[in-house]
């Protein structure tokens, strides 16, 4: 499977980031496994330790399995001032996880991120590609319940 993704791109080093993105996006657990790194290393003729360095440098990549939905709560100052700490505490309680953890049902991984560029609606989080603003503890509960219902 990884090999097929690789083959969509020319085997040059500058395609590394794109290939890694596609591998991560196509994985049901949204991560890049050691096997995937080995495949990419061989395809691009780039040492595996270099790829690991790239993977860990960029926060968008994960080297461990994640949930179906990835929550990224903004921890930048505007959201912090508007109470992102409370939102984080609430999320931890309703998901039963610590920051970086994945809920037992495999549905959610809770992560923190830097500014999402919508400070006017602070506090803000993203779930997958969708942005949710003006968060309150009640609103967070509703959003999570709604996604849980969709599974």
């Amino acid at each position: 499977m990884y090999k097929e993704i690789c083959k969509k791109y020319a085997p040059t080093k500058d395609n590394l980031i794109q290939i890694l993105h596609e591998i991560q996006d196509s994985h049901p657990q949204h991560y890049i496994s050691p096997d995937a790194v080995d495949t990419v290393a061989e395809y691009l003729n780039v040492p595996a330790n270099h790829i690991y360095g790239v993977l860990t440098f960029y926060t968008m990549y994960s080297t461990s399995p994640r949930g179906k939905n990835i929550i990224r709560l903004c921890e930048s100052p505007p959201c912090y001032i508007k109470g992102s700490e409370n939102i984080l505490r609430k999320l931890k309680v309703i998901l039963g996880v610590e920051t970086g953890g994945t809920s037992k049902d495999g549905l959610f991984t809770l992560e923190l991120c830097a500014c999402l560029g919508v400070c006017g609606n602070a506090p803000v989080m993203m779930i997958n590609e969708d942005v949710y603003g003006d968060l309150t503890e009640e609103k967070v509960e509703e959003i999570i319940d709604k996604i849980r219902g969709m599974k």
Binding site: P34, N49, Y52
Partner: protein, 594 residues
């Protein structure tokens, strides 16, 4: 083309080429700029910021390691502002460092310790925020203690650029940035070849060998054990440095005296088996040449190189000599030939090797190195560990009276001793292979073309009855790659290798620059130690391996002849294919002859 420019450092007018950085220009003229991550052997990474200087016309300080000089540049290396910056930087590094200097292997050698002291850093200015991480002790050769790591990146540069081994990398970013192996799998589960160059360039004690000092003392102090010791060629030209002797002092006889004082039961010499290696490898080479073999023969003494070959060039494993390294030949013979000659039960023999090398620890524990029926070499100490033992025993090394080794496996020729310098094995092999092919003696034994620190050296030697023998010598694994790529390409396209015989050593400079050598192991000291081996060669009465009387004796009394069935059983080995991701064996690459 480099242009000469005028620069002014602290008011001194210097004329330097514009290809230089500020720190290079300052060093060249004896002006010291404080530094931490910079090392003259390596390209600058500008990680630490300690080498900041003020450059006129610039509002902020510049890093001297990566700022090129320009015409008319006015540089100040010291000011109250710079002193304060440097102190703060070092205080920040110390605040995230495990400060355990008295028991650290790098004590008195640590560049961070020296710098902190020189700058008058206040250790209480910033609280220590180190969150202790587990030590990576997966490897048989190298311990990596991230708590002492200052993330200067020298090991990453050496591992990736100088050695092209690709084991270490920077991981994560910002305050979490640290050095690691891929997926934090540990050194033993990475392509690490155990060369130990990372331990040599580490400015602190974050990278070190796995110590076997205690185990060796235990054996020495056990009256039931008979402890035999061998010392690699390059050890004898490296020991003196630690005791204030001039760089490149030849201290073989003081080394024997120190070993006897420490209490080893039998003091032999790896140089003897270096001569024996020449007989085995030389015979193998000549047999192949006579058979018109198109594939080259490549030396197998360097265990870092052997693991590198198994990892990156297993398709060429059949080109690598089957001869074991001098250390492993000695190990197996200490529990067979030596045990028989002395009438000692081999189960009571403890065979210790003192090596300039961290990879030898791995080699000694390869499952195939048990042809005596025991682990052939029980313990391997690096030069640094041996120095530690000398100091622990309170020996005044520089003032020791000369002593000789014990007889049996210690006589050596000039050919054996030059094994320790890049090109030395090749030169030694040519001195004997010439005789093996022609039946005549080579008159001029000094083969200058294979000496020196050029990364890849080539020579052609005319051997009557054979023709031109084309040889190549590479040291440092990035240079090994250049040679191996050409061999692979040659065999693929024309079916022929550019060279008949190739010497490869994993470490730059050869064993004199080994990963187990004393700290301060820079290119300049490697060169000086190498020259000392050539000086010793010139001073010795016998300079060709085939004239070593103890070698003649071992063939007469025990082995029969070079490459005999018994020689094959005890002195030769075979190779494996390894994963480039995990370094683990995946299959056999060659089989052992029987």
């Amino acid at each position: 083309m480099a242009k000469i420019v005028n620069v002014f450092i602290d008011g001194h007018h210097l004329e330097v080429p514009d290809t230089m950085t500020i720190i290079e220009a300052a060093d060249k003229h004896g002006i010291h700029i404080p530094r931490l991550c910079y090392h003259p052997d390596l390209p600058p990474t500008a990680n630490c910021g300690v080498c900041v200087v003020e450059v006129s016309g610039n509002p902020t300080p510049k890093r001297a390691c990566c700022t090129p000089v320009t015409e008319g540049m006015k540089i100040a290396t010291n000011s109250n502002k710079l002193r304060s910056y440097r102190k703060t930087l070092v205080e920040m590094i110390l605040s995230n460092h495990e400060v355990v200097c008295p028991t650290c292997v790098a004590n008195n050698k640590c560049e961070l310790q020296t710098l902190s002291n020189n700058l008058g850093v206040d250790p209480d200015h910033l609280p220590n925020i180190l969150a202790k991480q587990p030590v990576d002790n997966t490897s048989l050769s190298i311990i990596r203690d991230v708590n002492k790591c200052i993330a200067c990146g020298r090991c990453v540069t050496v591992c990736n650029d100088v050695q092209t081994v690709y084991a270490l990398t920077f991981s994560d970013r910002g305050i979490d940035a640290h050095i690691d192996t891929a997926f934090a799998n540990g050194m033993a589960n990475s392509p690490c070849v155990n060369c130990g160059q990372c331990t040599v360039y580490c400015p602190t004690g974050a990278l070190r060998e796995r110590s076997e000092v205690d185990a060796v003392w235990e054996a020495i102090l056990d009256p039931d054990k008979h402890v035999v010791v061998q010392e690699a060629p390059s050890i004898r030209v490296s020991l003196g440095e630690e005791f204030g002797m001039p760089l490149g002092s030849v201290t073989a006889k003081k080394m024997y005296a120190a070993l006897r004082k420490i209490g080893f039961d039998s003091i032999m010499d790896t140089n003897f088996t270096a001569d024996l290696t020449i007989m085995e490898e030389g015979t193998e080479c000549v047999t192949r040449l006579k058979a018109g073999e198109k594939r080259p023969l490549i030396t197998s003494c360097s265990p870092g190189w052997v693991k590198f070959m198994e990892t990156y060039y297993p398709d060429l494993a059949d080109c690598v000599s089957t001869a074991k390294s001098p250390m492993s030949m000695f190990g197996v013979l200490s529990k067979t030939y030596y045990a028989e000659e002395r009438g000692i039960d081999p189960a009571k023999i403890v065979s210790v090797a003192i090596m300039p090398c961290t990879a030898k620890k791995f080699e000694a524990r390869r499952p195939e190195m048990r042809d005596s029926g025991f682990q052939d070499t029980d313990f391997v100490l690096t030069t640094r560990e041996f120095l530690h033992m000398i100091k622990e025993a309170g020996i005044d090394f520089a003032n020791l009276a000369d002593e000789d080794a014990d007889e049996g496996m210690s006589f050596y020729t000039g050919a054996g001793t030059i094994f320790g310098a890049t090109g030395g094995v090749m030169e030694a092999a040519i001195r004997s292979a010439y005789t093996l092919v022609t039946g005549q003696e080579l008159d001029n034994v000094e083969i200058q073309a294979v000496r020196g620190l050029e990364g890849v050296k080539e020579a052609t030697v005319n051997v009557p009855g054979f023709g031109d023998l084309r040889v190549a010598v590479a040291h440092g694994l990035s240079n090994a790659r250049k040679v191996m790529d050409r061999v692979r390409e040659g065999l693929k396209t024309t079916g022929e290798s550019p060279w008949h015989f190739i010497e490869i050593m994993a470490c730059p400079g050869g064993c004199v620059g080994g990963g187990g050598q004393p700290y301060g192991n820079d290119i300049a000291s490697r060169a000086r130690r190498g020259l000392a081996l050539y000086e010793e060669d010139r001073s010795l009465p016998v300079r060709k391996s085939h004239h070593n009387p103890e070698v003649t004796r071992i063939y007469e009394r025990f082995l029969g002849a070079p490459n005999s069935p018994l020689a094959h059983k005890l002195l030769h080995t075979h190779y494996f294919k390894r994963s480039v991701y995990t370094g683990q064996v995946t299959e056999e690459a060659t089989h052992k002859h029987h």
